[in-house]
């Protein structure tokens, strides 16, 4: 029973249609969650005690940062599946996850800067979280660059799988050491991810946004996967039927 499922996962047309069915429901749901969450957080949630209204950007910054980091693990797991079971779909998923993750990391950095300006007066601060995000961005770019440098895409996927697996082991080490580094050089006070508990009225929209961005990630991944499948299987019959014939 489990094997047929697994075999189906390796079949491009099946994945294509399965992804399509999931997207039909997930995409509107995601957009709904994003709208509700964004409006709730950016407009209706109460202003923060210390930071006033400028803190609201965290409703975008925090979810995006969380998913950007999780996305690297998704990419690495897809790579591991590709290495162990030689599945073309896993190759594709890894290749699609890289730019999505990089884009999210970039968005996290930009929203972090937007947060920084009113809070600390500068566009950029090398604190632990942001520094780790910058390194994560370079890790993503590295995987993408390695993929593009190989002509043979099967080999490219294998090489990127190895790189992202090494990166995966390294990421906790990087985060821990950056935290330690920051605590060494930290100026007196600034501690925005402080020990204070978050009020529920702020927590709920945040959780909603985090779920929404996760859902958005899955949507983007599936959309990219479908596009990639059409591209790489463009000479097969099922693609021709799909593009020209019934929809």
């Amino acid at each position: 029973m489990a094997w047929t499922w697994f075999h189906r996962l390796g079949s491009p047309p099946w994945i294509y249609h399965f992804a399509g069915r999931v997207l039909r429901y997930l995409l509107p749901l995601t957009l709904l969650m994003l709208c509700v969450g964004a409006v709730w957080g950016l407009a209706f949630a109460p202003p923060d005690f210390r930071q006033g209204n400028s803190y609201r950007i965290i409703y975008i910054h925090v979810p995006v940062s969380v998913v950007a980091l999780a996305g690297y693990y998704v990419m690495a797991i897809a790579g591991a599946v590709s290495l162990i079971w030689r599945m073309k779909v896993a190759d594709l998923m890894m290749r699609v996850a890289a730019p999505i993750g990089a884009g999210l990391t970039l968005l996290a950095l930009v929203t972090g800067a937007v947060w920084g300006k009113p809070t600390w007066g500068t566009w950029w601060v090398w604190d632990a979280r942001i520094t780790s995000m910058v390194i994560l961005l370079f890790l993503y770019i590295g995987v993408y660059a390695l993929y593009e440098a190989y002509d043979n895409k099967t080999l490219a996927a294998k090489a990127c799988a190895i790189l992202s697996l090494v990166g995966t082991v390294n990421i906790p080490i990087i985060y821990k050491s950056v935290d330690w580094w920051y605590s060494l050089h930290q100026p007196a006070s600034i501690k925005f991810t402080g020990g204070t508990t978050i009020d529920p009225s702020m927590l709920y929209p945040l959780l909603l946004m985090i779920s929404a961005v996760y859902a958005l990630y899955v949507c983007l991944l599936l959309l990219g996967l479908r596009a990639g499948l059409i591209d790489s299987e463009s000479t097969t019959n099922w693609v021709k039927r799909e593009v020209l014939g019934e929809h």
Binding site: R86, N152, T154, L155, K158
Partner: protein, 201 residues
């Protein structure tokens, strides 16, 4: 049984070079892989030697006792001729220095034993690679275009070594544009190119 494949398909990128090959190489056999340029001879050799695990589908088993001689000679320019044999990384060479000296003598490189390989001509470097044939303990030889840059004397030498190896129960698979005259004539695998099924002798 030194090499066996079942339903082997070799591809390069999106293109299949050959499909559904079922083949066996036993001790005492010589095989020649024939085909036009680009028909997949080298790719098949590389799959057989374990250099291209991502480029084929199907079952493939091969002995570990292997000597592979490909387009790259595996000769290090900054080492001397003798060191190139002593520190050879592959090909299951004998560990006895007497064997190496004898082999180098046989291929006519005795005067150059302590010469750096970068001082030698391409043909002489190729002969270092050939010297390996004389002091290897490997049972299966995979030779891809072994006659490249070899003069007539060298060709005769290779033929003799192959004969000797076969007589001892080893096996040889080779590709070559030139004909080799061997005591036991080689069986042939013809690659037709365009991803077809090869003809096995």
């Amino acid at each position: 049984m030194l090499f066996q494949c079942r339903d082997l398909s070799v591809f390069r990128g999106e293109r299949y070079l050959l499909t559904s090959l079922s083949w066996q190489v036993l001790g005492g056999e010589v095989w020649q892989i024939r085909g036009e340029n680009g028909s997949g001879k080298t790719s098949l050799m590389r799959c057989m030697s374990g250099l291209a695990p991502q480029s084929f589908e199907g079952d493939l088993t091969r002995t570990d006792s292997l000597l592979y001689l490909g387009h790259k000679a595996g000769v290090k320019a900054d080492l001397t001729v003798l060191e190139n044999l002593r520190l050879q990384l592959g090909g299951s060479l004998s560990e006895d220095s007497a064997d190496w000296l004898q082999a180098l003598d046989y291929v006519g490189l005795s005067p150059f034993v302590d010469e750096f390989a970068y001082r030698l001509s391409a043909g002489q470097c190729r002969r270092i690679a050939l010297a390996r044939l004389l002091c290897t303990t490997a049972k299966l030889w995979l030779l891809d275009e072994p006659l490249t840059a070899i003069d007539t004397l060298g060709v005769r030498l290779i033929e003799q070594q192959i004969d000797r190896h076969i007589a001892r129960g080893g096996a040889v698979v080779y590709t070559s544009h030139q004909a080799l005259e061997l005591t036991a004539p080689a069986r042939v695998i013809s690659l037709r190119g365009e991803g077809g099924r090869p003809d096995v002798d």
